[in-house]
Amino acid sequence: MKILSIILFLLVIISCNNEKSSVDEKHLDMYFREKQNTDLTKLNNFFIVVISGNCGSCTEKTIKFLKQLGDKKENKFRDYKKIVIIPSNNAEVLDSIKNSNIQFIVDEGFELEKYGVNFQRNAFFEFKNAKLVYKDWLYLDNVDTVAKKYSFILK
């Protein structure tokens, strides 16, 4: 009986964690379908970075990370589509990341929030075979952690 209870408890925990990931997936999917006319399930492998509209979101480190992500000479993630969504109040950052293979989406009129895609910090998502496999914050020193995972060198 005890073992059964533990198994049930673990199952509940696992399903809760999955639910959180799937909530982000659901919100992103709805935003892309309705606002960008894009079906994410057809994209296969891709990264999405959502830049926060808050102060300090576009630090030098984050910009270096995005430059690495969009580096045209980089081969490791050649088959990945790279998408960065940036709120219009932070859109001047785009001037620093010219000539990259990132698709930039400028969110005019705070539409992201309406779809539940609003984060107080920059969010990084990796999708493989159209499934969310990794999410983390691109925030302060955590940028280094994400960069290390993908072997990006933040010079």
């Binding site: 509209g53 102060c55 109040n89 705070f110 929030e113 309406k114 107080q120």
Partner: protein, 404 residues
């Protein structure tokens, strides 16, 4: 089966206690509001005005109103152009632009987006055209004239009163706006690592002549102490530059009460100023390091927000705007703070309610209001109001007058 029934009853009891506690908080902390007897004697009119300009921005969020020789001037900080822009409000004229990167001033590297407040002009106040006071990143108070001559610079870090708890002097146009009380400039004291166990003064008055700082006996209200400061984004004390002589009127973003401090006898009077729609007290919110940070955003949307209290010396009235609490979830979509209805309340000098009016949705930008003899100005430039004319500043003027 009995156990299940007991568990259900227990849950029901807990829910009852939870809601009873919420209501009792409002009963305990929110003061009863009085209605004015002659509310029908007042009429409200709104007129729209435009001021031609070329400033690249829709509205000013950091600004002051100067009343000099019976003329009214709007002095606003323009982050895109790193300038102070001056308008004659009576003649609807742009007058002058002061470039803050002038060599005469030691200002550099301002944040064009105005997001990083340590690299911004956080607040402005003016005594006259020869004495425009800028709060530069909560680091310096810079006093300059319209010829960009720097009259005085006071480092805010160097004048903090010796205390066991580290403090910092701050002011923000949209939050705790600096103002004059007599000859002294009133600023907010910010405490780091504050434990909410002892009451500490929040207001400090700075003598600009000798940089001497004096505490005023004003603290946060009982409710914030009770919830140990856990009001999420909604925990500020707020002030306005439009003060009645010899009194300091202030309020808190998290409750509808309005407070008045009388420096002559050091008394504080609390007035009820309840809104009739929605909550009058912000719920407490706890936050642990591993919590989803969006919990604060949800709390912000689902709670009310009360703004500063503006005194109208021409009509002997007070005004206060507030945002109503709404549900964040909206079917498959989400409401944001931009979807919250904006309410204006008008009080007489005894803080009895004269009018309460819900303004049209998606029309007005918050924190763009100010007062002149003409009335209460507000900018019709809500983010979702996409009609933008870059060649002019637009205002609606709310005018309240007594029927003749």
């Amino acid at each position: 089966m009995l156990r299940l029934q007991f568990a259900l009853l227990y849950l029901l009891f807990l829910s009852f206690c939870f809601f009873a506690c919420k209501n009792s908080d409002e009963n305990k902390y929110i003061v009863k509001t009085k209605q004015a007897k002659n509310t029908n004697d007042y009429i409200l009119e709104i007129k729209s005005v435009k001021i031609p300009c070329n400033n690249l921005i829709r509205q000013y969020f950091t600004y002051t109103i100067l009343n000099q020789r019976n003329k009214n001037y709007l002095i606003g900080y323009n982050p895109k152009l790193a300038s102070i822009d001056i308008y004659d409000l009576d003649k609807r004229l742009f007058i002058k632009r002061l470039n803050l990167y002038s060599k005469k001033l030691s200002i550099s590297n301002l944040d064009k987006k105005d997001l990083d407040k340590s690299r911004s002009v956080n607040d402005i106040l003016a005594r006259n055209m020869d004495s425009i006071i800028l709060n530069y990143g909560n680091k310096k108070i810079i006093i300059l004239d319209t010829a960009l001559r720097c009259k005085k610079i006071i480092s805010l870090d160097s004048i903090v009163i010796g205390s066991n708890i580290p403090t910092k002097l701050v002011s923000y146009n949209h939050d705790f706006k600096m103002f004059f009380s007599g000859n002294r400039l009133v600023l907010k004291q910010l405490y780091s690592n504050y434990n909410w166990k002892i009451r500490v003064p929040v207001f400090a008055a700075l003598n600009l002549e000798n940089a001497k700082l004096t505490n005023l006996p004003i603290t946060y209200s009982d409710y914030l102490y009770n919830i140990k400061g856990n009001a999420g984004f909604l925990s500020s004390v707020i002030t306005s530059e439009f003060q009645k002589n010899d009194l300091i009127t202030y309020s808190f973003i998290y409750e509808s009460n309005i407070y008045q401090y009388n420096p002559k006898n050091s008394t504080i009077t609390c007035y009820g100023a309840k809104v009739s729609r929605g909550k009058n007290l912000v719920d407490s919110i706890s936050y642990k390091n591993d919590d989803d940070i969006n919990k604060w955003v949800t709390h912000h949307v689902e709670n009310p927000q009360f703004f500063n209290v503006i005194y109208d010396k021409y009509r002997k009235l007070y005004y206060r705007f507030s945002l109503e609490n709404i549900s964040q979830k909206n079917g498959n979509y989400f409401n944001t703070i931009l979807d919250k209805p904006l309410t204006l309340m008008v009080f007489n000098e005894k803080f009895e309610v004269i009018k309460e009016l819900v303004l049209p949705m998606y029309k007005y930008a918050i924190n763009t209001w100010f007062l002149t003899k003409e009335g209460l100005f507000i900018s019709p430039t809500h983010v979702k109001n996409k009609v933008f004319e870059s060649s002019c500043l637009k205002f609606d003027i709310i005018q309240i007058s007594k029927k003749k």
